[in-house]
Assembly symmetry: C2
Homo-oligomer: 200 residues x 2
């Protein structure tokens, strides 16, 4: 059985929970409190030298890091990752958009507001993150106009990856009122068979 090392309230980890639950794939979940420093212990760094969750471990001890790489690995050969070369490329485009443009604004604002003290110096980053994150949401809103899903005609891992931190963007102070197509897409994701909520 595969093992996921993760923190339940982390969107990057929740992505894997959501996909695995929807695939009906058995897995063992090992809680690692990333916010509390448990990814920086020598024991954890021996598993993932980059000191981050989530981490996938196979029965034979092989390990894979990076949430969106794990999504691709687990979704291979399932309806959650298209076979078509162009649709796969589009999926990767949105996964890299998620990790490079979306997560560093939308997840980081949530982390600062939700996990750091109100007088922490990083609170000063929040206004800039809100401004940049609104631009990211505008890119998503524009793409979703007239579309049901991010890639092709089908719900898949691009939707899962982007859903993870978009559905809880309010925790970071983002307002989705101006993004009706995003809100409609969030509702479609939540209505998918086997959808499980994030533990917050």
């Amino acid at each position: 059985m595969i093992t996921i090392y993760g923190m339940r309230a982390s969107g990057n980890c929740y992505k894997l929970q959501l996909l695995l639950d929807q695939l009906g794939h058995d897995y063992r979940w090992v809680d690692v409190d990333s916010a509390g420093g448990e990814t920086r212990t020598p024991a954890y760094l021996a598993k993932n030298p980059n000191g981050k969750v989530p981490l996938l471990e196979l029965d034979d001890g092989r390990r894979l890091a990076e949430s969106d790489a794990i999504l691709c690995y687990l979704a291979e050969g399932t309806p959650f990752l298209p076979d078509d070369r162009w649709l796969r490329a589009q999926t990767l485009q949105w996964l890299f958009f998620e990790q490079y443009s979306h997560e560093p604004c939308i997840a980081v604002a949530r982390f600062i507001r939700g996990w750091l003290p109100q007088d922490h110096p990083r609170q000063a980053e929040v206004p800039t993150l809100l401004q940049k994150g609104a631009q990211v949401l505008a890119v998503m809103e524009q793409h979703l106009a007239g579309r049901e899903w991010f890639v092709g005609e089908r719900y898949g891992i691009a939707d899962i990856a982007l859903y993870a931190y978009t559905h809880c963007a309010g925790d970071g102070g983002f307002e989705l009122a101006d993004f009706p197509d995003i809100r409609a897409w969030l509702a479609r994701v939540q209505a998918q068979p086997g959808h499980t909520p994030m533990q917050r």
Copy 2:
């Protein structure tokens, strides 16, 4: 013929030049001065709403953004991207590491030092970027101990993606003296057939 919209001195764009040259793939290159604001014009935003280079455009007008997604698309079916499921997953792991952990330190320090005035407020970010970037380089150094390439036994797009900003890390103020395995790997990459340097 495919078209790449890119800025020659950008590592994210250079990745594509390097792969295409090594594949012997014909392409048209359209210079877009990202640092000078040319990715934020209405005409460019109509091509890539996220306002970034590089961008791949096919003959039929379809477009693909995100440098590492483009690498995967172009490398599909070539020796630069393994067929094996686990090696593909490892490749993606390193591509996401590159975009999430490496580029935001190592490329951004280079940008601030190379493109922004000496009295620009963002110069204050450099010490933190140097510290975080050194941790990223340490992860690479550890991985390269006893290995020739990042994934499997073969040079591929994980090496190309990581080479792009590592070989010019000195521009950002990084010192590679403490990373002998990285320096040996850089030399191996430079010795590959068809290697072309970045225009700086």
